[in-house]
């Protein structure tokens, strides 16, 4: 198949007053053309850090300490600043976590969308404006509103503007980082439906970051589940739903309501996410894992393929049936 993005052993650390926070460690996954991957996990588990590492937007006190991010075979981490600048937006773009703040308040939205086109493509201003209007129409906003300032839009509309901006240069890969935070449920659903629609129409590869498991399972082809800086399981959505291997994934599934089955008992996960500063070498889930045993406290299990396209990291894997 046609791999667009391949992340290999990515680790990103933050320097803090108390020590090194290993916000992302040894993360690997890949993404095919036209595929939608849901990246899911509790708040603070490192989803945004993964996204920013891929885009090389991590700044002091953070640092990508190891790993490769191959975008169509080219390593973004090692790319020169000039190559990076030309690849950003043209090949990979982002719909940020809060689109509310992602638009510069003193420029019109048209200016901001046009800017990205004019940086990357050798077109006239008129042409860029024409495309900007088309893009706005594409996300359901009147093209003539390109002259408006961000504050003249509602939250949902700003989110649409951010989507239009992300698509401005026909990227191959779009990362949507919880881009519906702060919107009401109905608007959230509309925005997600819009992203899904555009993804199909333009054959985009999308990484959809979220902590809404039911939503992600409904629209993504594959799912990667993160816990405390690690991806603990990565598999096609079907496999996750029917045959989740990792204790955390199972707990997460049990913790989310199921609209098809209102009788289902929702079980919350006891305990809380560990502090990632100076985290000892061990399975990061061991403090909350009901199945933890000695080895889990001394080593971090390897993230490996357990079935075709189904990866997970747990010592119980292959030991026997634990699901």
């Amino acid at each position: 198949m046609n791999t667009v993005l391949s992340v290999e052993n990515l680790s990103t650390y933050f320097k803090t007053d108390k020590g090194i926070a290993k916000a992302v460690e040894n993360v690997s996954f890949s993404l095919n053309k036209g595929e939608m991957l849901g990246l899911i996990g509790e708040s603070g588990c490192g989803k945004t850090t993964v996204a920013q590492s891929i885009l090389r937007l991590i700044e002091y006190p953070g640092k990508v300490v190891s790993g490769r991010v191959l975008l169509n075979g080219r390593d973004l981490i090692k790319a020169s600043d000039k190559d990076l600048a030309s690849m950003r937006w043209k090949e990979i773009s982002v719909i940020p976590q809060s689109a509310m703040n992602a638009l510069n308040p003193i420029f019109t939205i048209g200016d901001q969308i046009m800017e990205s086109i004019l940086i990357h493509e050798n077109v006239s201003k008129r042409e860029a404006l024409k495309r900007t209007k088309t893009l706005l129409e594409l996300v359901g906003i009147d093209g003539e509103r390109w002259r408006s300032y961000p504050h003249e839009f509602s939250g949902g509309m700003k989110q649409r503007v951010a989507i239009a901006m992300a698509l401005a240069c026909n990227p191959k890969l779009v990362i949507s980082d919880e881009s519906t935070t702060g919107l009401d449920v109905l608007t959230q659903a509309q925005v997600i439906a819009l992203i899904k629609n555009l993804q199909k129409k333009m054959d985009l590869s999308v990484i959809l970051i979220s902590h809404d498991l039911p939503m992600v399972t409904a629209i993504c082809d594959k799912i990667a589940i993160m816990y405390a800086g690690n991806i603990v399981e990565w598999a096609p959505t079907e496999d996750i739903l029917k045959n989740a291997r990792h204790p955390y994934s199972q707990a997460l599934l049990n913790a989310s309501p199921d609209l098809g089955n209102p009788e289902k008992e929702v079980v919350s996960i006891p305990g809380s996410v560990p502090n990632l500063v100076n985290f000892p070498n061990s399975c990061r889930f061991h403090t909350r894992c009901p199945l933890a045993f000695d080895k889990c406290r001394q080593e971090n299990p390897e993230f490996k393929e357990v079935r075709n396209g189904h990866y997970t990291a747990c010592f119980l894997e292959g030991v026997g049936n634990h699901g």
Partner: protein
């Protein structure tokens, strides 16, 4: 829409000015004690009754309060601020003499310290956490901790007393009859030390505001988005970040602008600079009430006008403000 906005603001400020004039009129008349003292100063005790009568007449203190008020307003708008019995001169004449010097010193001081503060504040924020940032912070904090009279005296002792490069006091050399370019150079030489003192003591606030505001802006998502979009570092700094970061600085600049006509009392006094600040200081020392009142009136007036200007200019800087009001 814009016309209506300006007209609305104008009306608002007209009301403020009217209230301010009325207060200024009522204050001396409502204060306990002899109104003569407030009009003529404490020399009143040494005046003959004929002189007192003349003053009472001049101010129409024997007329009804409405008549007095009408006359007062008329005087203000014809530029008649009364008479300084201490300086034995009309107050408007005194103010006209002092205002240009004050505007030169404090106006230039405000503009230069804003430019310097903005420049270094931005650099400090852009290099956050580096040695440059730490050094700049130290220097500016040190400057802000020094009292202005002390800075002034140090500068005088170095550049005037020790090196003899610059004059010690005044706004220009007395009895020199310089003209044209020579006079400008002479005025410039007199201006350097008070101006430098003023900048040194006031630059830190702009520096701190700019640094803080730039740091905030740099942490905004739209800056990260600009980076993700592949916008060049320089364009991000100057186009995306600078204008946003300047908004709080612009606010403070406008507020300070209103106070420039009040002069810089301490500095004008240390350098015997003939500005409004020193005039105010002298008038307070000698309890020259009409003069005190007139200088206060000038300052309030200019604060109100600066606020009006700020209201007009701010929408041009921040589109949010523009549409909310207009």
């Amino acid at each position: 829409m814009l016309g209506k906005f300006i007209a609305g603001k104008f009306l608002q400020y007209l009301i403020v000015i009217f209230l301010m004039l009325t207060l200024n009129f009522l204050l001396p008349r409502l204060m306990p004690g002899n109104p003569l003292v407030f009009l003529a100063g404490e020399d009143v005790g040494f005046m003959s009754s004929a002189e007192k009568e003349a003053i009472l007449d001049k101010y129409g203190l024997n007329d009804s309060i409405i008549e007095q008020y009408g006359a007062y307003i008329k005087d203000i708008f014809t530029g008649d601020f009364g008479y300084s019995y201490q300086q034995k001169r009309p107050i408007s004449e005194l103010l006209m003499e002092r205002l240009p010097w004050t505007m030169l010193l404090t106006g230039l001081g405000l503009v230069l310290s804003t430019i310097i503060g903005v420049m270094f504040g931005a650099i400090s924020a852009w290099r956050r956490g580096t040695k440059t940032d730490a050094n700049l912070l130290t220097v500016f904090m040190f400057l802000s901790a020094m009292p202005s009279f002390w800075v002034g005296m140090i500068l005088v002792s170095i550049f005037s007393a020790q090196l003899g490069w610059l004059p010690v006091f005044g706004a220009e050399s007395a009895w020199s009859n310089y003209s044209g370019i020579d006079r400008i150079i002479d005025i410039g030489k007199h201006l350097i030390l008070p101006l430098a003192t003023l900048i040194l003591i006031s630059v830190t606030s702009t520096f701190m505001i700019m640094r803080y505001s730039m740091l905030n802006v740099l942490g905004e998502d739209y800056i990260m988005m600009a980076k993700a979009k592949g916008v060049k570092e320089k364009v991000i700094k100057y186009k995306h970040a600078m204008r946003n970061a300047l908004l709080p600085v612009a606010t403070v600049f406008m507020l300070s602008l209103g106070f420039t006509l009040g002069g810089a009392t301490v500095i004008e006094t240390v350098f015997a600079y003939p500005g409004v600040g020193r005039l105010m200081f002298e008038s307070v020392l000698s309890r020259d009430y009409p003069l005190i009142q007139a200088t206060f009136l000038i300052i309030t007036f200019s604060v109100v006008i600066a606020n009006f200007l700020a209201d007009l200019i701010y929408p041009l800087l921040d589109p949010k403000v523009g549409s909310r009001n207009g």
